[in-house]
């Protein structure tokens, strides 16, 4: 047996015998290290004649490569075995609970505001806002509630203390004053909705002293009452996410619209919940009308040139109807259990194309 064969046999044997990575590395150094046996043999190539080198070169290179490969192969084996061994010790009971992540929720009223805005936004409306504390002009007079008119009394207004001869400020009783603010500030065409808090001095099972409205206003040259009907029927269908809504409009009285209309929709009771759209009963859902010429004049708009419609709806009640919340009162109680139950997930962002709810 030549020296090369002997070394190869011994080296491969030692590699095979190496029981761990450290032992394997010792073998590698002993054979392939700077002063290793294989390395030393390789160095003898330099002193050989070209003829010898031609025969011995391939042999020695072959030896080195085979030993190297054997080391690599054994190394992989040993690493695998070591990993297996470690994994045996790395055990967690994966049925244990993770750390709790508190879950937040969005309030239904705020979500429903966004649902409504999404629908009207799709019809070309933008969102306008105004202050909760209003003056008499914007809340009443400009809206064609003359002073002393009994229609004012129906509003159960909250007043602030009067200051120096001026009529007392009020908490706005509806979102309609924002109509006035927008028309005072902006030339038609106008197409806005106004979500917001409104206030009336009334507190019982179906009324809270603060509640929410969405107001709408469309002013242009050719907008007539047929558009009011079409717009609101389209809205109700989208909002309740039903294909059909049987709706009717009835005359009513609001000082700031002429003609005025209330809108009713058909519904039926199914167990505890209510299905909107079809059924055996009518439910009033909003008030609307063509903007009164006096209101347009009060805002500096010529009623012979421009006309349009306005509407206002109670958001809290519509949210109750859509989502089957039985009672209005917990809305404002910051009740955690109620909010977790009726609230919405944080990233549910309503859109007409992507779904409202």
């Amino acid at each position: 047996m030549s020296e090369i064969e002997t070394i190869e046999k011994e080296a491969l044997g030692a590699i095979e015998q190496a029981g761990d990575l450290a032992a394997l590395d010792a073998v590698r150094v002993a054979e392939l290290g700077k002063k290793g046996r294989v390395s030393c043999l390789m160095k003898t190539l330099g002193g050989m004649s070209p003829e010898e080198r031609q025969t011995m070169g391939p042999k020695l290179n072959g030896l080195r490569n085979r030993v190297q490969e054997a080391v690599e192969a054994r190394k992989a084996e040993l690493e695998e075995a070591e990993l297996e061994k470690r994994l045996q010790t790395e055990r967690i009971d994966m049925t244990l609970p993770p750390r709790a992540v508190p879950e937040g929720r969005l309030h239904p009223v705020m979500q429903v505001f966004e649902e409504m805005a999404a629908i009207f936004g799709d019809m070309g409306f933008t969102v306008a806002e105004g202050p909760d504390i209003e003056d008499d002009w914007h809340n009443f007079t400009a809206l064609n509630f003359p002073e002393g008119h009994p229609a004012r009394e129906t509003h159960d207004t909250f007043f602030f203390h009067p200051q120096q001869g001026a009529a007392p400020k009020v908490l706005r009783t509806h979102t309609s004053p924002v109509q006035v603010r927008v028309m005072e500030a902006q030339k038609p065409p106008i197409r806005i909705i106004v979500p917001g808090r409104v206030y009336r001095n009334d507190w019982d099972a179906t009324h809270t002293p603060m509640f929410h409205q969405v107001e709408g206003l469309v002013i242009d040259k050719n907008i007539h009452m047929g558009h009011l009907k079409g717009c609101l029927i389209d809205f109700v269908k989208e909002f309740f996410e039903v294909a059909n809504v049987e709706a009717r409009f009835r005359p009513h009285f609001f000082p700031f619209t002429e003609p005025s209309a209330e809108m009713d929709v058909k519904y039926r009771k199914v167990g505890e919940s209510i299905e909107i759209g079809e059924g055996d009963s009518w439910m009033e859902i909003l008030g609307s009308g063509m903007v009164h010429p006096n209101v347009l004049r009060n805002c500096g708009i010529d009623p012979d040139e421009y006309q349009g419609f306005a509407f206002g709806m109670g958001v809290d009640r519509l949210a109750m109807l859509k989502y089957g919340m039985p009672d209005l009162r917990p809305y404002f109680e910051a009740d955690a259990g109620w909010t977790r139950h009726y609230g919405f997930r944080p990233w549910l962002s309503p859109s007409v194309a992507g779904g409202l709810s």
């Binding site: 244990l96 609970p97 750390r99 709790a100 992540v101 508190p102 879950e103 937040g104 929720r105 969005l106 309030h107 009223v109 705020m110 009207f120 936004g121 070309g124 409306f125 969102v127 202050p131 909760d132 504390i133 003056d135 002073e147 008119h149 009994p150 909250f158 203390h161 200051q163 007392p168 197409r191 808090r197 001095n201 002293p209 469309v218 907008i223 007539h224 009452m225 558009h227 009907k229 079409g230 389209d234 409009f249 005359p251 009513h252 009285f253 002429e258 209330e262 063509m290 010429p293 009623p303 006309q307 809305y331 404002f332 910051a334 009740d335 955690a336 259990g337 909010t339 944080p346 990233w347």
Partner: protein, 798 residues
């Protein structure tokens, strides 16, 4: 407003069914609230004939009756003392629900003291149709067997209740209702004008109008020798049907005419009047006892009726006790006047009197109806109370109103999209009482005197639209504006939406709490000004506009905890109020945590604290595109924060954007909230708006190929030195290359002398252009140490 179908038919010739009438009311804007068919609940009850009534063998007070009924001959045991052979009675078959007793008869015959009884003979009280409780209903023998009980008891007249909108006081009379329903197609209007009642002598009561603006017309007449007693049955029945208790003829007839023609009247006992009757303004110091028994102070703004004895009535509001009619009244003076609506409303509000007259006068009574109303009253008195009628004494004249308006009939199509033929327009308007002068496109209309709501063309359009029916209007989807859709929300609104989603995603429950709170709470949180105090709060503890949302959240968190909730994390994004002007409202995001330490098998977790509140605030700011280095942290500027564990966030020296940290324990105690409680309040209005960019393209990403170098330093400083100052001075040592400074340890204790602390920072150095050599890095390190030492007296920890 209630009326009965038969009453309506006084003024409406119609074959329409009840349902058709109701549908027409709805179409015309008379919103029906309730229809009570008094016969409906009596459907099972019928007329029966008692053939015999024998004593019960085992009970003295019971009778065993043999009764002919719709169901054949029945044996019925009856306890009524008046049960007798030959009687016409009301029979309830087995199983019937008895409304007055609120129970149902058994479905099978029942033995009463051993005798079988198959049904029941009823009293009117048991049917809720009367109050005879001495025995069973004893009907006129004329009613044949099987007649529905409702018919025999005269309960066939449905009562309709509807909402009268404030613009239509003429609907407060049955006549006015009929006029509208006729115009809307439900029948033919019957005007039923009242004939003048001729008096046989001059009215002995003088009338003087001293305040013609307040009371421009007052018609009166006397009837002598009246027999005031119960009203005739038809009148009593009508009043009862609409919920008015009959008293005596003179009172009832004024109520009746008010309900019938929306014409309030007042009846005075003429014997109790002294001297001339004046309609004048009140005098300071006068007072008056009204028929409700209360005494009211009279104001100089009020229109009063007075005679020589003083004030005897508040015009259009309420009459007085001293001259009221009674059952003994024989001479009556009837007032039929007109009072100014605004003044009447003011008097009503000042005195707090709620009366039928006030309700009508403040909405508007037809000023032309004074004389006819008076005649109506006189006719009824003469017919049912007898007596001698005087001539009418008519003082003044109806107020002058401009009742002529122009109407452009093209407005109908312009405003409603509806085409209506001129002939139809004319017909409808005439039926409503308008007088039309046709001048081509523009018409001139004279508005009927009972209407106060018609001023211009648009008002006429509404009349037409409602009479045609809103269902006949086109339904047209709103066309897109030619310039297309706009972004629906402003950047500020979008920011509020984002803020809400960030907070909810960080585990907070969104709340919506009252905009008002107890004044005491507002005062603790920097509010409470008089301008923001509600004069008429719904409850005394909801009387002040909120300067902060935090007290509401703190109280709610405590309430939740008391109810068994664990950690409460609440937020609200909504308004606070710093003044009563239109620009004094701020949108804030308030978040609050009432912590409960979480227990976990891997080791307890540090509970929510002031720095956690800071983390939530800064996470929110980051999502709102507000880089943290924009802000400075400083001592709290509001007194409701913990002085040592809270801070404010400033944007330059003047603008405070937010406060965060722990709420002050003293404030929590006053709120009755167990601390500690942490949170923040961020004023969204104070945050700078991101500038709108001209293009959506993002700037090019600049990134170095060279690896950043990180070095740690620990400085020993006085314990009062803010960590942020160390960071700031370290960062400014080499502004170009230092890209980050992070505090990773704060230490006090062994090895650090008392009053000092060690603050360790990691500095990130980003080489630019070429790799830094060791000596360059060392030089930067020296600069950092020098800069921190200069700025904070900090010494590098050995």
């Amino acid at each position: 407003m209630k009326f009965t179908l038969s009453w309506l038919q006084d003024y409406l010739a119609t074959k329409a069914s009840l349902d058709d009438i109701l549908a027409t009311m709805l179409k015309a804007g008379l919103e029906v609230e309730e229809v009570e068919d008094p016969g409906a609940k009596l459907a099972s009850f019928t007329v029966a004939k008692v053939k015999s009534a024998e004593p019960h063998p085992d009970a003295d007070r019971l009778r065993v009756c043999t009764v002919d009924t719709v169901d054949g001959e029945k044996q019925i045991v009856c306890g009524a003392p008046n049960a007798r052979a030959g009687m016409t009675a009301i029979y309830a078959p087995l199983g019937t629900w008895i409304p007055g007793l609120d129970f149902a008869l058994d479905k099978k015959p029942r033995k009463i003291r051993g005798v079988e009884s198959s049904g029941m003979l009823c009293s009117t009280k048991e049917l809720e149709a009367g109050d005879d409780h001495d025995g069973i209903a004893d009907l006129d023998g004329k009613w044949p067997l099987g007649t529905p009980a409702a018919e025999a008891l005269g309960l066939t007249d449905p009562v309709i209740d509807f909402e009268v909108t404030p613009n239509r006081p003429d609907w407060l009379g049955v006549q006015g209702i009929a006029r509208d329903l006729a115009a809307a197609g439900a029948g033919r209007f019957l005007d039923n004008p009242i004939k003048k009642v001729e008096g046989s002598y001059q009215c002995p009561v003088e009338i003087r109008l001293d305040a013609p603006d307040a009371c421009p017309i007052f018609a009166g007449a006397v009837v002598r020798g009246v027999k005031n007693g119960p009203s005739p049955d038809w009148l009593k029945e009508r009043l009862k049907a609409v919920g008015i208790t009959p008293r005596n003829l003179l009172v009832d007839l004024t109520n009746y005419i008010s309900q019938d023609r929306a014409r309030p009247l007042h009846a005075y006992d003429a014997a109790k009047l002294t001297g001339t009757v004046h309609a004048r303004l009140g005098h300071e110091g006068e007072s008056f006892e009204a028929i409700d028994g209360k005494t009211y102070a009279v104001g100089e703004d009020m229109c009063v009726i007075a005679d020589d004895s003083g004030v005897i009535g508040l015009g259009g509001v309420m009459g007085g006790q001293s001259t009221a009619v009674s059952d003994e009244t024989t001479d009556v003076f009837i007032e039929s006047a007109w009072f100014d609506p605004l003044r009447t409303a003011r008097t009503g509000r000042t005195t707090g009197i709620i009366s039928d007259a006030r309700y009508r006068y403040e909405r508007g009574v037809d000023p032309e109806s004074c004389v006819e109303g008076l005649n109506f009253a006189l006719a009824i008195i003469r017919e049912y109370g007898g007596g001698e009628v005087s001539a009418a004494n008519i003082a003044g004249s109806p107020p002058k109103r401009d009742m002529r308006i122009s109407f452009d009939r093209r407005d109908v199509a312009r405003l409603t999209g509806l085409e209506v033929k001129p002939a139809d327009l004319k017909k409808m308007l005439k039926e409503l009482g308008f007088v039309i002068e046709d001048a081509g496109e523009a018409w001139y209309l004279t508005v009927p005197s009972w209407r106060f709501d018609i001023e211009q063309s648009a008002d006429i359009v509404e009349e037409i639209a409602r009479l045609v029916g809103y269902d006949k209007l086109p339904t047209t989807s709103l066309p897109m504006p030619p310039e297309g859709r706009k972004v629906m929300v402003t950047p500020a609104q979008a920011r509020l939406r984002t803020a809400r989603r960030v907070m909810a995603s960080r585990g907070f429950l969104e709340t919506v709490t009252w905009s008002f709170m107890p004044k005491a709470h507002a005062e603790m949180f920097g509010g409470g000004s008089e301008a923001l105090t509600i004069a008429n709060p719904v409850a005394s503890e909801l009387n002040q506009m909120r300067p902060s949302i935090l007290p509401n959240l703190a109280v709610a968190a405590q309430k939740g905890f008391d109810r068994g909730e664990r950690e409460m994390r609440l937020f609200e994004a909504g308004p606070v109020y710093i003044g009563d002007g239109p620009k004094d409202q701020r949108n804030v995001v308030a978040a609050l945590v009432r912590p409960v330490a979480e227990r976990h098998w891997s080791g307890n977790v540090a509970p929510y604290d002031a720095t956690a509140a800071k983390r939530d605030l800064f996470a929110l700011l980051a999502e709102l595109d507000q880089p943290p280095e924009r802000f400075q942290v400083d001592a709290p500027r509001q007194p409701h924060w913990h002085p040592g564990q809270a801070a404010c966030l400033k944007l330059g020296p003047k603008v405070t954007v937010a406060h965060f940290g722990a709420l002050h324990p003293r404030v929590l105690k006053a709120l009755d909230v167990d601390g500690p409680v942490y949170g923040f309040e961020l004023n969204l209005n104070a945050l700078p708006m991101m500038k709108a960019r001209a293009t959506k393209t993002r700037p090019v990403l600049k990134r170095s190929d060279l690896t950043p170098i990180r070095r740690d330093f620990a400085f020993v400083v006085d314990e009062g030195v803010a960590a942020a100052d160390i960071v700031r001075h370290a960062a400014s040592a080499e502004k170009k290359l230092i890209t980050g400074v992070q505090v990773f340890d704060v230490y006090q204790g062994t090895g650090i002398e008392p009053g000092k602390k060690s603050v360790a920072i990691e500095v990130t150095i980003q080489p630019e252009g070429e790799t830094l050599k060791d000596k360059d890095i060392e030089a930067i390190g020296e600069k950092i140490v020098a800069s921190v030492a200069k700025g904070t007296d900090g010494v590098l920890r050995g």
